[in-house]
Amino acid sequence: MKVAITSTGNTLESKLDQRFGRCAFFVIYDTETGGTEFIPNPNKDALNGAGPASVQIVASRNVSKIISGEFGIKIKSLLDSLKIQMIVIKDTEKTIQDTINMLNQ
């Protein structure tokens, strides 16, 4: 199973990005192999439509869960129809490594 996490940087020590559509990096974490992949987000500075474009990037990797700080109103209905689970973490101090550790508990 693959999980997407929004990240502010491209290391495991980076903090979780509080925005989904305009986050700096997407981390695709594979719970079976334990591998991580960092994808830079091309929609980082997009004026509009960043959310749906980001959903496309993430959905093309076949993820089943997305962890972020906030999801926009356009994205919720989109992810609902794609049957991707949204997980919202309000704690801004969490790093990517912390989040992965929690998933592996």
């Binding site: 609902d80 973490i89 508990q105």
Partner: protein, 169 residues
């Protein structure tokens, strides 16, 4: 003066089929002859007739006003009657809607998550595997009741940002 924008209607589940086709007799079953029943109209019929709710209860579930729900419902019956009498097929599509899933809070790690697989029960937090989870919607509905009575405008802004952050408010 331009009219107020249409409020998004909340539909809990997409219908199990995408329409109905007539059979026998002189039926008109082309797409050009079809009646297009919107998702919101399907939902209104489901709530009012299948679930036997009154219009006020149904309007709260669909997140529109009571008169709006009555209008949606009246239009639905008009369309269904038209299809039945003239032998047209019914296609369920369109409408200004969004599908909503249930949201939960984990009391162990404090995260929020939804359940996109509506038929399956969720018993543990997807993040920390904690068993202490509670339904988030029930918490907000109680507070929203008061907000609706006090200030209609505040209630709509509460709804847009409110799914995750509204609890603190």
């Amino acid at each position: 003066m331009s009219p107020r924008p249409t409020r998004l209607r909340k539909v809990s589940n997409p219908p199990v089929i995408s329409g109905f086709k007539p059979y026998g007799g002189k039926t008109k079953s082309g797409r050009a002859e079809a009646v297009f029943l919107h998702f919101e109209e399907y939902e209104a019929v489901r709530l009012c007739d299948h679930e036997s709710l009154n219009h006020h209860q149904a309007s709260v579930i669909m997140d529109v006003s009571r008169p709006t729900l009555t209008r949606i419902y009246a239009r639905a019956r008009q369309k269904i009657a038209d299809a039945l009498v003239t032998g047209k097929q019914i296609i369920i599509e369109g409408g200004k809607i969004y599908f909503d899933s249930e949201w939960f809070v984990c009391n162990t790690c404090g995260c929020y998550f939804n359940n996109p697989f509506k038929q399956e029960e969720i018993s543990e937090c997807p993040l920390c595997k904690g068993k202490k989870i509670s339904n988030y919607d029930k918490v907000t509905y109680e507070t929203e009741e008061h907000v609706i009575n006090k200030n209609r405008k505040h209630e709509s802004s509460h709804h847009q940002h409110g799914k995750h952050s509204g609890k603190q408010a």
